[in-house]
Amino acid sequence: MPENTAFPPGLRFEGVTISLDDTRLIALDCNVDPGEVLTVMGPSGSGKSTLLAAITGTLPPAFRLTGRIRLDGQDLAGLPTEARQVGILFQDEYLFPHLSVGANLAFGLKPALKGRAARRDRVEAALDEVGLSGFADRDPATLSGGQRARVALQRTLLSEPRALLLDEAFSRLDTGLRQQTRALVFEVARRRALPVLQVTHDHSDAEAAGGPVHCMGQLATRN
């Protein structure tokens, strides 16, 4: 891994701006430390998700990105999505509907772990961690919303990301479930020292994260 001691670890934005035509959608210059959660807030349509697309490397060509995004010191520019080691969770879980729950998790598991039995054990363990023991053979379409969210989280973690992005990840869940899932995600991220960037339009998400908040579509403020 190209460790670069000149830069602090974490997710770093250096004079990042994203514009569409001549409209600047976002300007960001900050560092998200390992275990910290940066919340980017803004009304829908303000371009919050384009920031995440810039990090995953899936920004549509119409958008213009300037500045530099670094992850643990490494410049992400030019890297294909699969080489960036950035995990992302969307509002929908995007569990692959043709794969069983276990196969979905195995899809995320790195090929470096060899052996069918070892891989199956790792998948089982990941399910145990979130209280879904024995769910490996289930059809993802038969899971409840909360179960799907936990499977998606575990699948992402098995791919050993260096940062976690949340794209309105909790907005589909109802209040109780939402608090539970949110707490789980933030706790895991803190434990694994992952820098987290969440975009949301919901203040309770920002409060639960407890980190800095960047507001879009109005006066840019930080607290």
Binding site: P2, T56, H98, F107, G108, A141
Partner: protein, 581 residues
């Protein structure tokens, strides 16, 4: 972290390979699809002006054109082609428009949608045979009414089939073009959100059909214009259906061109080429006329909309009913025609006024079944190869579009329709001449290449929409989990899109099975498929043989559809997320 360099090396080794083919895929596809068309047109133009060294035509001359103009049947054949084309297209479009206007979004409409694919995949020739048996003087309709209504005890001497005005030909074309246009209209409808427009119009007091025609139709028509042109060009220049249902003396221009092509007197090749060029001009003229009619209809439509007339509920209901009856008649004609073929193929003695044969027997299948094997095998090989290639190229184009942003402009859609709009005789005669020159004449490979020209557009059109509406966040998710583009394609996208891929395959297969002229001309009559054999046997007039062949042909076209519907259900029986739709 020792794995990082290895990964890098492997990626560096793999990437150029991907980059080598995928970005070229759109170009390769265009060449494969349009090359034969353009080369074929040149190969038709040259002999039309007297140049064909193989037959001692080395200079340029107008003799072939002169010979064509001296053919006494010319004006009649031209008028017939034009009339049949415009008539069949106008009637098909009217039926489709009124069915959608009257029924879109209702439960009956869902039933119509379900009937579409099977109807669409019935080969033109098989549908035409079926229809011929229904309406012939000795056919089912006449039998059903005899002798108790008509008093006939033997088939009347009436020219219902192959009538000089081409009415039965128009009827035959309408039964097959209505499902095609309807499918295209359905695809267009999903993009224009007709329900809300219609609801607004109805709230403003418009009757259903009037409201639909005024608010939805203009948007839909813009999107189905190319398919309509394809229907027009096809109806004006079709050969197999016209041989079975069209008039004989003279036949339509396209049929006459094919007769000249196949004449033992090789000198007639020049005249045939001139006729093929005329056919091309005629189709362009027909499209010009249609365009003119579009403009006039557009003007009148604007005036009609601005009058604010709401339409009346009464007539609206009548038109609604009539549209459904007409559409149902077209569908029933195909279904009943096929049923007739089934019965004929098992028929023992079946005398005229009897509605059903005296007995059923396996004798026909036993007698002709063995002969079927050769053409059936040839049909499967050609259709399999052409469809496989078309699928490969289509997937490569769509992946190139996804990975490299090589999205064709909407204008490029014209190119996809070009093989469907340029009349087959206009370039296949030239394609044949060229392949004789290249020494490919009469080979299976040449036939596959010719089929590919027609299979590709259909496979592309049928797969492009489902491929493009696939939620790209699945891609982002998989890539973020560390999967490269190839892994995402094979492990995620293709399995999730299994159903549309299989349906596109079935469409391609059915298109190839139904091809008559490319097989006949490019194969120089030496590559017998179920379709060419069936049409050749039709002239014998033995309904039992025709029935056997038409059924085999239909089965070859329908079986892949059945597989495309059943296979995903079996494979994904435990995957609820993929079972709907």
């Amino acid at each position: 972290m020792g794995t990082a360099p290895v990964t890098t090396v492997r990626m560096a080794g793999r990437r150029p390979r991907r980059a080598r083919f995928l970005p070229w895929a759109p170009l390769v596809t265009l060449v494969v699809m349009l090359g034969p068309v353009l080369a074929g047109i040149l190969g038709t133009l040259a002999p039309a002006f007297g140049y064909m060294p193989a037959l001692q035509g080395t200079g340029l001359s107008l003799d072939p054109l002169r010979a064509l103009l001296e053919w006494p049947g010319l004006s009649r054949a031209v008028m017939l082609s034009l009339g049949v084309g415009l008539g069949a297209t106008a009637i098909s479009l009217a039926i489709v428009t009124l069915i959608c206007a009257g029924w879109a979004g209702t439960r009956s409409f869902t039933m119509i949608e379900r009937l579409l694919s099977p109807l669409l995949s019935v080969p033109h020739a098989a549908a035409a045979f079926g229809l011929a048996f229904l309406i012939a003087p000795s056919g089912w309709l006449s039998r059903g009414l005899s002798p108790w209504v008509t008093g006939w005890t033997r088939p009347p001497d009436l020219l219902i089939l192959q009538d000089p005005a081409g009415l039965s030909l128009i009827f035959g074309l309408v039964t097959k073009e209505v499902p095609f246009l309807l499918l295209m209209t359905l695809a267009a409808l999903t993009q224009v959100r007709p329900a809300s427009s219609l609801r607004v119009a109805q709230c403003l007091g418009y009757a259903r059909i009037t409201g639909w025609l005024k608010t939805v139709f203009p948007l839909v028509y813009r999107q189905i214009r190319l398919p309509v042109f394809a229907v027009l060009a096809f109806s004006m220049s079709v050969v197999d259906v016209a041989i079975i249902l069209g008039p004989n003396t003279p036949p339509t221009l396209a049929v006459q061109v094919v007769r000249w092509m196949n004449d033992p007197d090789l000198a007639l090749r020049f005249q045939a080429a001139a006729g093929a060029v005329l056919q091309l001009g005629l189709v362009l003229f027909g499209i010009g006329l249609w365009r003119l009619a579009e403009i006039v209809a557009g003007r009148l439509g604007k005036i009609w909309v601005s009058t604010g007339g709401r339409g009346w509920r009464g007539p609206d209901q009548v038109i609604r009913g009539a549209a459904l009856i007409l559409g149902a008649t077209a569908a029933l004609a195909v279904i009943a025609g096929l049923a007739g073929q089934v019965i004929w193929s098992f028929a023992g003695l079946w005398q005229f006024p009897d509605l059903l044969p005296d007995g059923f027997t396996w004798r026909n299948w036993n007698r002709y079944g063995a002969q079927l094997a050769g053409p059936a095998g040839e049909t499967l090989i050609i259709a399999g190869a052409a469809t496989g290639l078309a699928l490969l190229l289509t997937l490569a184009c769509l992946e190139a579009e996804h990975r490299h942003g090589l999205r064709p402009a909407t204008r490029a859609l014209w190119l996809l329709y070009l093989p469907l709009i340029v009349p087959q005789v206009a370039f296949l005669t030239g394609f044949q001449t060229l392949s004789i020159g290249a020494g490919l004449d009469g080979g299976r490979m040449a036939v596959i290449a010719a089929h590919l020209v027609f299979v590709l557009p259909y496979v592309f059109l049928s797969l492009a929409d489902p491929w493009r509406v696939w939620d790209a966040k699945h891609d982002t998710t998989a890539r973020a989990l560390g999967a490269g583009p190839d892994r995402v394609l094979w492990m995620v996208r293709l399995p999730m899109l299994l159903r549309p891929v299989l349906i596109a395959t079935a469409v391609g297969f059915a298109v190839s099975v139904g091809q008559y002229l490319p097989t006949l001309l490019v194969g120089a009559g030496r590559v017998p498929t179920l379709t060419t054999e069936a049409v050749a046997l039709a002239s014998g007039g033995d309904r039992r043989v025709t029935g056997v062949y038409a059924l085999a042909q239909t089965a070859a076209a329908l079986a892949p559809f059945a597989l495309a519907l059943v296979l995903p259900r079996l494979l994904w029986r435990n995957r609820k997320g993929l079972l709907h739709a």
